[in-house]
Symmetry: C2
Subunit: 115 residues, 2 copies
DNA sequence: CCGTATCCATATCGATACTG
DNA sequence: CAGTATCGATATGGATACGG
């Protein structure tokens, strides 16, 4: 990190926006599921262990609004809704990879952070 | 992003840890201030606009616990406490830079995400 | 099947007051 | 100066029930 990274008009606004979208507790898990293949709502709920309907709905709406995920409704009965990751969603992988590298860095043992 | 990025024992645990430390609302702002130079508590509170004492204290404790920031107490009266970014704290810049690149990516206009 | 609506528990945050 | 303690407001999340 270097102070010259302070490139935004306001310090770190783009980083803030990125974290707002990608930093959600479940965001990464959902994107990963959709990365493997497109999935329907119920499948996502089953595979993302522990997520509630309410939160899953909200996450998906956010992701669709942010353009990372596409939502397709098949007009059958019962209706089938399929979620699919977009190119932009795949692009988020760069950011996650950097976070992964940092999180996996070698480090001295120290008391856990509990936030 | 590629499904082969699923390298952790549990999907994305290292990413989760990184986000826990770096994803805080104020974390980046504080690190940036300390990146320019070491600062004392009051100076940080003045410069990080809008942060409360309570939250600043908690953030600093987290950052010290995570090893990103050092805390040095001078035994004067009144006591002076100086916070200084560590090498590990500077290392977080890679991750923030990736988030910045993603957040600054060109994109079609779309309704704002409000999370 | 795919959600939304509602209720409630908990977490988080800001403001204020106070202490070594 | 550098915090901690406490309180109340707000946000967030889970559980459950219900609707198209």
């Amino acid at each position: 990190m270097d102070a010259s990274d302070k490139v935004d008009g306001f310090c770190g606004e783009t980083v803030r926006r990125a974290l707002d979208v990608l930093g959600g507790k479940w965001t990464m898990l959902i994107l990963w599921e959709l990365l493997e293949q497109e999935r329907r709502y119920a499948a996502l709920q089953r595979r993302v262990a522990g997520i509630s309907q309410k939160v899953l709905s909200a996450e998906l709406r956010s992701l669709v609004a942010a353009g990372l995920v596409e939502r397709e409704v098949a007009a059958t009965t019962p209706p089938q809704v399929t979620y699919r990751i977009t190119a932009e969603g795949r692009g988020a992988g760069e950011a996650y990879a950097a976070l992964h590298r940092w999180g996996a860095r070698p480090q001295a043992s120290r008391p856990p952070v509990d936030r």
